[in-house]
Symmetry: C2
Subunit: 185 residues, 2 copies
DNA sequence: ACAGGCATGTAAATAGTTACATGATTCG
DNA sequence: CGAATCATGTAACTATTTACATGCCTGT
């Protein structure tokens, strides 16, 4: 049985403790979103498919009058998750409109490539800030669970963004050296 | 008129010289594919839409009996491309199944996270090699056109992959230090 | 009373890939 | 001659996002 990567995101998210679709979405938004996003439109139908396949089990756990279904992973689900984790990854995709614009920046008057690099840099700086906001929670969680991987991935994301922002800065300087703001020295 | 980023890829590709859909696809595969892919299923219909909108112009230029339509950018097309280049980028998406697996690696027995990092590292090393194969062609092209951006982006991609491969290596060592191959001191 | 968060879900639209069909040309 | 490449295109499928609908609960 072939599952989509998004199915494994869900499996992974319920593997430590049972969660509702809503909680899974919230968790994804705080964690994997940066390298693997998922929307309600995927999560709820996928939960039903996984339940039908016996990889998770839903249980009604209403809070007051508000209905709520939490899903727990089954033995078969744990097996499927591990089996996936052991297969080499297949998808590695980047869709970066900034790099795309930079690639075509030759269609613009000389100095304007610099503006693209500045936008890209600002974006990564902003991303770093948002990732740093997550940090305390992730650190606390590592202390509680002893699982080093989520924090490792978070630090990796921060470092990567720092590399990217730095690269933008270096390329900006290089462009400015090559074409010194128009009439210079 | 709102165009998709893929439309701008096409506009960018025909902005320097007229090209056929087939040539555009081949170019994309050698260049932007690494941060913005496009398939025939997108390119041919999009070329017709762009032609209908007056942003490109198709001309029949058969080679022998083999029919062939090359598309040239129009003044309006150049304007649309420049206008897009000046807008700040919107999309920045990464879909990295390796990072996803690493994130959930806690579901695996201790030592196995290392295997994921090794797979990721191998992938980036391989990517570096493929990018280096493109290098000579890109350098030669920069000499011919004087456009520094495509090569800049290519070097950026290589450096990024090098950073990534190095990070994998460092994280691998860290895991091995933390859990020295089972039963230690 | 109302805003905001909790909770589940679906319909419609958009995006994108894959596979196929067709046929010419070139090179070994 | 056959394989690879040039060349155009479409149909079917899969994935994914967005927007909406519904309704309860908590805090101000």
């Amino acid at each position: 049985m072939e599952l989509s990567p998004t199915a494994y995101v869900i499996l992974g998210m319920v593997s430590r403790e049972p969660r509702s679709g809503y909680e899974i979405k919230a968790l994804v938004d705080r964690t994997t979103r940066f390298f693997w996003a998922a929307s309600y439109g995927q999560i709820y139908p996928e939960l039903k498919r996984l339940a039908a396949a016996g990889l998770v089990e839903g249980r009604d756990e209403p809070r007051g009058e508000r209905r709520r279904t939490v899903y727990a992973i089954t033995a078969a689900g744990t097996e499927a998750l591990r089996e996936w984790l052991r297969r080499p990854p297949e998808t590695y995709e980047v869709r970066d409109e900034g790099l795309l614009k930079l690639f075509f920046a030759g269609a613009l008057p000389a100095a304007e490539g610099v503006a693209i690099l500045r936008d890209m840099r600002a974006h990564h700086l902003d991303l770093i800030e948002r990732l740093r906001e997550i940090e305390p929670k992730a650190e606390e969680k590592e202390d509680r669970t002893g699982d080093p991987y989520p924090l490792m991935v978070l630090y990796g994301g921060i470092e990567l963004s720092e590399w990217f922002a730095d690269w933008c800065e270096r390329m900006e300087s290089r462009l400015l050296e090559a074409a010194p703001t128009e009439r210079s020295n």
